[in-house]
Amino acid sequence: MGTGTVTPGVVPAVQVEAVGKSFDRAPVLEDVSFDVQAGQVLGILGPNGAGKTTLIRILTTMYRPSSGHFAVAGVDGKRPREIRRFIGVLPESAGYPRIQTGGEYLTYHARLFGLSREQAKDAARKTLEIVHLGDRAGSLIATYSRGMLQRLGIARVLISEPRVVFLDEPTLGLDPAGRRHVLDTIRRISAEDGRTILLSTHVLADAEEICSRILVLNRGRVAAQGTVAEVSRRFGADRHASLSLPPEQAEAGTALLVSLTGVKRVSAAADEPGALTVVFDGQTDPDRAIRLVVGSLLDAGIAVRSFELDRARLSDAFLAITQDDAR
């Protein structure tokens, strides 16, 4: 099932096989397959209308798939109520009852998961502390800022101690401090608690920062999946390296570099003698790029004063994937 990295003998936390979904006969998702291992953070990326929210709603049992199979936390998708015992979900644009306090809201949701009144109150208090809302437990939700609402939503997700967490655009509309807070919380619940997290986001920097793997959806299909580095490399645009040579050897160095396989072009900086920019194609492995450039120059007796390889950029890969499909 799926195409993710599989550890022998371990049941993936999420298994998706050929899942499709149509609304009024219009396909929204087609043949989506992937696995997520326990403890991984999977980023689900894609442009608007790619099917990210629909995929999350299928996996969280809000929608039934039109085709295919899935399992979450080892529970078959045909047993939705059982799945809901093991998941925590922060939907996109979740609403909150403004007339309740944060503490009341969490206590209620804890009780929906079967806790007694006292246990629920205790769990609500502890969970609000985790998201740094402990001092606002008694305040009406109507008085919360957007960032606080999002943290309250994450607290609700965590109140049932879920095995698999689904977060749909958790940093949408947050200021930098709010975004940082949410990302730190996600990182903590993944690293410290070992929960599996599926995170849908438009913010590629968020995915680069916290996701162990990513899945790129485009027009309802899986356009790419793998680690951020793998996808960036496989689909990325050209990669750049900045290089500094002795000015008198710059011309010979340029001639040598343009002859190397994988180097697309070399350009010299007009205002800094000896400074070169080397452009590799997106498929070039970073270790090979370093060996290729530095090794070849040193072998030819050309001194290398500095060498810096840019990281492969997910944004370039994302644009390459989604624009190629759009053409």
Partner: protein, 266 residues
């Protein structure tokens, strides 16, 4: 984070939902506002019945009957409004998804919301008791009026509430849910405004009996105005009872297919 220990005894899902809904309805002020408006309405009606020169030609028994019938109609209407808002309103406020994501069954969720909506009918019945007592003093029908208001009102409130809940489950717009529910209630109440000649004859009486609202109100009239025995006109309660049971059963069946977006996924 530490794992939460499983409770020794899990609370029933419907009672958790009902408790929360009751607090939101009453402590949040919505049910209190509706009850206050209802009380004002009853006060005006009773004042007119007791003092107006145009209306006080009514016999005391008829005044009690009219008050009981109005209390039943308006109390059931209030319960219907709350039920119509219960699901579609949460859809509009985007609060439904978080509840649906819990392991509580859809049926328990709907039952909890029905219990909360029903509370306003109970309040409406309690509120009308002093008005009935005031108007019915001296004609010895006070307890009869209070009891029959409760029985008939409960049947009609349950049926109308269940119908409104069905609509609320099916549509994703709160406005549509309220409009359809109110339209149906008005259609059921319309025959009470027809001349009595329209209610005579086989066809007229059959329609009157089949319509749970008119049948229930007719039973109240026979019992309180005409002084009939409790059991004498029980056949008029068949339609309200069947409607209440059938609609509640249908709601329980349809509740299991409650979805995030109404009768069709979008």
């Amino acid at each position: 984070m530490t794992a939460i220990a499983a409770p020794a005894r899990s609370p029933a899902g419907w009672s958790v939902v009902a408790g929360r809904e009751l607090r939101d309805l009453w402590a949040g002020g919505r049910a209190l506002t509706l009850s206050t408006v209802y009380s004002l309405f009853l006060s005006i009606v009773v004042y007119l019945l007791a003092s107006s020169t145009n209306l006080n030609f009514l016999e005391q028994r008829e005044s009690v009957t009219l008050t009981a019938q109005l209390a039943i109609a308006v109390g059931a209407l209030l319960a219907m409004i709350l039920a119509a808002d219960a699901i579609s309103g949460e859809r509009e406020r985007s609060t439904l998804e978080a509840t649906l994501l819990s392991p509580v069954s859809r049926r328990a969720l709907v039952l909890g919301k029905l219990v909360a909506a029903f509370s306003i009918w109970v309040a409406a019945w309690v509120i009308v008791i002093p008005y009935i007592w005031f108007l019915g003093r001296g004609v010895d029908i006070v307890w009869e009026a209070i009891a029959c208001t409760f029985v008939v009102g409960t049947l009609l409130a349950a049926g109308l509430m269940a119908f409104a809940m069905l609509v609320s489950i099916a549509v994703d717009s709160n406005r549509a849910s309220l409009s359809v529910s109110l339209l149906v209630l008005l259609a059921l109440l319309a025959p009470t405004q027809l001349p009595s000649s329209a209610q005579s004859g086989w066809a007229g009486e059959s329609l009157y009996r089949l319509n749970p609202v008119t049948a229930g109100e007719h039973y109240v009239g026979k019992l309180l105005t005409n002084g009939h025995d409790w059991t004498q006109d029980l056949d008029w309660l068949v339609s309200p009872a069947i409607a209440a049971v059938a609609l509640l059963v249908l709601t329980a069946v349809m509740a299991s297919s409650l979805t995030l977006t109404g009768w069709r996924e979008r």
